[in-house]
């Protein structure tokens, strides 16, 4: 900006950049003063938003982990070694039911955070319980599917396709299971302590985690199940 004014006005007005710098310094000196006044109030909020940015960075790195698994699956899904192929294994109505459970749980998780915003403890716990139940149903269906595949001699040791399938889908399933444990702990915490800056920040992170897992599942059902059968 200051260089712009030198070229625009020529040598005669060379003092201008210096003037602008002084003004900028003055502004910079003013700002901390007003910030210290707000500091006490802002402290919790800053901590919460920093925690949330940190958690967001974690989610992004988790996303890269899944990208590796998706890449592995998309390279290996044709290598069925004479064994079962995606077309012969996957049951789309079953997967659709799983998908709907997870999607509705994402919605109810959002309703839980809204209830937290209203400071309604009962509604928050209620929606978290619904979310937990739907997530549990999802994991239950996935475990049932895996047991069924292994019993049909289509376990992870059967072919490269099935190894990569189990790795990808089970990694997602484990994430959901961790989310369920976290959610149970949060429900106990909210029941005991109510809404503190700490529980609110953690609940907001949990909600991000849960929505993120739903996004990964969109990739799983599109790439693995739909493209596998289509």
């Amino acid at each position: 900006m200051s260089t712009g004014s030198i070229t625009a006005h020529g040598g005669a007005l060379a003092f201008r950049p210096g003037y602008a710098d002084n003004a900028a310094h003055a502004l910079r000196d003013l700002r901390p003063a007003s910030e210290t006044i707000d500091f006490e109030l802002q402290h919790h909020h800053d901590a919460a938003s920093t925690a949330q940015l940190g958690f967001w960075i974690y989610l992004m790195s988790d996303c890269l982990l899944f990208a590796g698994l998706f890449a592995t699956y998309s390279v290996l899904h044709v290598r069925s070694a004479g064994g079962p192929t995606p077309q012969s294994l996957f049951d789309l109505p079953y997967v659709l039911a799983e998908t709907v459970f997870l999607l509705v749980s994402s919605f109810t998780c959002g309703l839980a955070t809204l209830a937290m915003g209203r400071r309604s403890r009962g509604a928050t716990l209620g929606w978290l319980a619904v979310t937990f139940g739907l997530g549990l149903a999802f994991v239950g269906m996935e475990v049932h599917e895996f047991a069924h595949l292994v019993a049909d001699n289509a376990g992870p040791d059967r072919s490269a396709f099935l190894s990569s399938f189990f790795t990808l889908v089970a990694t997602h399933g484990l994430h959901v299971t961790c989310g369920l444990v976290w959610m149970a702990l949060m429900m106990v915490l909210v029941m005991k302590k109510g809404f503190t800056p700490s529980t609110e920040s953690r609940l907001a992170c949990l909600s991000l985690f849960w929505h993120f897992l739903d996004i990964i599942w969109v990739g799983v059902f599109s790439l693995v199940y739909l493209l596998g059968v289509a």
Binding site: S74, V78, L92
Partner: protein, 134 residues
């Protein structure tokens, strides 16, 4: 995209002003969202799930892989905007940057792997592929 951003901005209406100054700014510019944005997102996501499942289950369409990919990308965008509430506000700048960066890396990993392995497969001598090719 701009329609979606308007919808998110729209939630700041009557109770956004009560909420907005104190609470939402603290949690990265509206992580809580609103009932309206969650409902819109949920309905869109349901539609974007049912349609590709329906297409594949009824064997209705030609060029299905592309259609599935388009629906998947659309649904991911819906989730990011309506459930994760990522937008272009000041408070979300670093979240958005990390997301864009991750998106680029994911595309490189996925596209690169598929491209390289496809070329490898095409250029491989037939004798070396025995037994392993499905």
């Amino acid at each position: 995209m701009s329609v979606a951003n308007d919808a998110i901005a729209g939630h700041g209406g009557p109770h956004g002003t009560i909420h907005g100054g104190t609470h939402e700014s603290a949690y990265g510019g509206g992580v809580h969202g609103s009932r309206k944005s969650y409902s819109i997102g949920f309905l869109l996501a349901i539609a974007l799930t049912i349609i590709p499942f329906g297409l594949v289950m009824t064997h209705a369409s030609v060029g299905t892989p592309l259609i599935i990919a388009v629906f998947a990308v659309a649904q991911i965008a819906v989730h990011v905007v309506y459930f994760l509430h990522v937008n272009r506000s000041e408070a979300q700048r670093w979240n958005l940057m990390a997301l864009v960066f991750t998106g680029i890396v994911v595309c490189i990993i996925l596209g690169g792997s598929i491209w390289i392995m496809h070329n490898l497969y095409i250029n491989m001598m037939p004798g070396m592929m025995q037994g392993s090719m499905g």
